[in-house]
């Protein structure tokens, strides 16, 4: 462990807190790289970032389960509400209400089936997961279900990748023993920010155009 980390830890800051704070810029950079180099789109940088840490707090298994329940309930409620012609804010409040109830049922079911892991998870990450639904639902309305579904899957994929990154021991040791590596992220992000090359996904999307260049 590096000296700086030890110094901070000696002031009573838990190692876990230090690690997560230091991991955040790495995950943010990972998300930026996913976008600029691979072309995986997501709902900005906030949503996948928060999702990653929510998964970390709840655990990937329950995290995904809760996410899927929220997503499906939210989408279903949106479709039901479509015919009621309500204004946006009240409509979204109803969606959140139903999701909250669904989560309550899920927690109760978890208790009933002796899945204590679910009940013992901290509530804050679950609340954050619930509120994330606004982004998913509003995109559905705005860009149509197809685009929104693609974006949701991509956001989820990035978050899962981020999750496996922060639980990776090698990464943890590296961050804690060499926190100065964080400075490298400036270089990486300046490179990403100036990168004008073709994204991996664009090779796929424009493959017919590329093929046609030959002729």
């Amino acid at each position: 462990m590096s000296n700086i980390i030890q110094l901070i830890a000696s002031q009573g800051v838990s190692i876990e807190t230090i690690y997560l704070i230091l991991a955040l810029p790495f995950i943010a950079t990972l998300i930026a790289a996913f976008r600029q180099l691979i072309g995986i789109k997501s709902f900005g940088i906030y949503t996948p970032l928060v999702l990653t840490f929510a998964f970390w707090a709840i655990g990937i298994k329950y995290g995904l389960a809760i996410f899927i329940v929220i997503f499906l309930t939210g989408t279903a409620v949106r479709y039901i509400l479509k015919n009621f012609r309500l204004l946006y804010m009240p409509r979204m409040a109803i969606v959140l209400t139903v999701i909250s109830l669904a989560i309550l049922v899920l927690l109760a079911l978890g208790g009933y089936f002796q899945k204590t892991g679910l009940a013992s998870t901290s509530i804050l990450p679950i609340l954050i997961l619930i509120t994330l639904i606004e982004k998913f639902i509003s995109t559905q309305v705005e860009k149509g279900f197809r685009t929104a579904a693609f974006l949701s899957v991509e956001t989820l994929a990035i978050s899962i990748a981020g999750y496996y990154f922060i639980i990776w021991d090698v990464f943890r040791d590296l961050v804690l023993s060499h926190p100065e590596y964080i400075l490298l992220l400036f270089v990486v992000n300046i490179f990403l920010g100036k990168w004008t090359g073709i994204r991996l996904s664009e090779y796929l999307r424009f493959r017919k155009v590329i093929k046609n260049v030959d002729k």
Binding site: Y88, K208, V209
Partner: protein, 488 residues
């Protein structure tokens, strides 16, 4: 892998579009103007550009309360001022007797529906940043007859990318059942590549996939000539100058009465246009970079010269004749001969009905001719041998004519039948008596029967030359390059 990277060098990706083209060329102020539909419409209108009429603007709840719905015409479009990607646009098709309207989806639309939709617009639901927005009613463009078979309910529009006063690439967008009458590609509209020089459509894509026919009406999509093409290009260039966007996508619709009308200017024009045109955009933008373009006409000329891929089709349209280059790929039918066709190893090659090869188009030659060796391979070996056998003993003087010589080999000619004839060719090398074979050839997609004289061309580059007698249905343009190279 290497060729993949090399071939994609001219492709415009999202990163390069944002960093190399939008950032330096589109200043914040200009982007803000472009995103504000009413303001940009006003700026265009003042500069004399035709735009759809505005029937009414609703800025707040109060204006919504007092709005006179009865003043609205039978058909109109309701739009959010800061909408993007076609979101939040409601197209009203007609009016019912009870004064309610009909949407393009065929649904009944009441005043309450419109009111609710406007409230959503106020909430900023369709705007760029999610901030509150205002709504306006606009004239609905009347569909041009030419486009009727191709569009499902809505109005097709033409997207022209203009950079440095040059219309770099263009695309025709067609509304489909899936896109609910809107022409936006990500909603399921069809994008058609357009030849910048002529305004004729080339390829078509839907959801980034190439298609041939319209999914709803099953009409062939390529080869559609867009009317008012020059005007459209000129308007697009003017829009760039007025909007002050260095890199802009101009959306233009054609009204059946008013002609081309500008729908909007886009500061963040999408990249799908490359798929519709099967052509990379960055390659074109780079060519334009730094050029001094004097005026609209100059810009159009540059675009036509640099990016007009199929100018010769224009000539084909006028003359009704196909344009050929000096070297063309042709197909020659293989004779269904009792001997079959032997390939080099001596095996039978009967499964193949024709062969493809490159031929020289020679307007200096009267007849087409074919290399002897090739003719043998095509199944004429026996006749060629017999012909050589009888001709060997003939005396061919300078005064020899076809009649005299034919008389001498009469038996053989009768035996061979109608597909074979002879010709006497006089050239600087003297007089030669050659076998003439009727062959089925396909040239630039047109099937012909050509009488080929058989001669030894083994020392020449092309085994076949196509002469004037076979070229009646074509025009020859020496500058035209061979389109496809076979065997690749």
């Amino acid at each position: 892998m290497f060729t993949l990277i090399k071939n994609s060098k001219g492709l415009l990706g999202m990163n390069a579009r944002n960093l190399s083209y939008i950032r330096p060329n589109n200043l914040q102020g200009a982007i803000r103007l472009a995103n504000n539909k009413l303001k940009s419409k006003e700026a265009l209108f003042k500069a004399g550009i035709p735009v759809p009429k505005v029937f009414g603007i609703i800025r707040n709840r109060h204006e919504l309360e007092v709005f006179k719905w009865g003043d609205l015409p039978k058909s109109f479009v309701l739009k959010p001022n800061h909408g993007r990607g076609g979101g939040g646009i409601k197209v009203i098709f007609g009016q019912n007797k009870d004064l309610s309207w009909v949407s393009t989806e065929g649904k009944k639309v009441t005043i309450k529906d419109l009111r609710d939709h406007i409230m959503d617009i106020f909430e900023g639901f369709y705007s760029f940043s999610g901030t509150s927005d205002i709504a306006f009613f606009e004239e609905r463009i009347k569909l041009l007859k030419v486009f009727k078979p191709y569009s499902y309910k809505g109005i097709p529009d033409i997207r022209v990318i203009v950079y440095n006063k040059v219309p770099v690439m263009a695309m025709l967008r067609l509304p489909t059942r899936e896109s609910e009458g809107k022409a936006n590609l990500h909603l399921g509209g069809i994008g058609l590549g357009v030849d910048v020089a002529t305004g004729v459509t080339t390829n078509a894509v839907m959801h980034d996939q190439l298609i041939e026919k319209t999914p709803d009406t099953k009409f062939k999509l390529s080869g559609v000539k867009i009317p008012y093409w020059k005007d459209i290009l000129e308007i697009a260039i003017k829009c760039q100058e007025i909007s002050k966007l260095g890199y802009v996508g101009v959306d233009i619709a054609i009204d059946s009465e008013r002609g081309p009308v500008v729908l909007e200017v886009n500061a963040h024009a999408g990249l799908s246009i490359q798929i519709a045109n099967l052509s990379p955009l960055k390659y074109r933008l780079k060519k334009i970079n730094g050029l001094k373009v004097k005026n609209e006409a100059h810009g159009i000329r540059i675009a036509q010269d640099l990016f007009g891929g199929e100018v010769e089709e224009e000539i084909e349209d006028i003359s009704g004749k196909q344009v050929l280059g000096i070297i063309e790929t042709i197909k020659i039918g293989i004779m269904n001969h009792e001997l079959g066709i032997k390939n080099k190893e001596g095996g039978e090659l009967i499964e193949k009905k024709e062969i493809e090869l490159k031929a020289k188009i020679d307007t200096g030659a009267d007849r087409s001719s074919i290399d002897e060796e090739l003719a043998r391979k095509l199944g004429y070996e026996k006749v060629i041998d017999e012909f050589k056998g009888v001709v060997k003993d003939l005396e061919i003087g300078n005064n020899a004519t076809k009649e005299i010589l034919d008389e001498k080999i009469k038996d053989k000619l009768e035996k061979w039948g109608d597909d074979f004839d002879t010709v006497v060719i006089k050239s600087s090398h003297g007089v030669s008596y050659r076998l003439l074979i009727k062959m089925n050839i396909e040239l630039s997609g047109i099937k012909l029967i050509s009488k080929m004289s058989v001669t030894d061309r083994s020392h020449l580059e092309f085994p076949v030359i196509i002469g004037r007698r076979s070229l009646g249905r074509f025009l020859v343009d020496p500058s035209k390059k061979t389109k496809a190279v076979f065997g690749k």
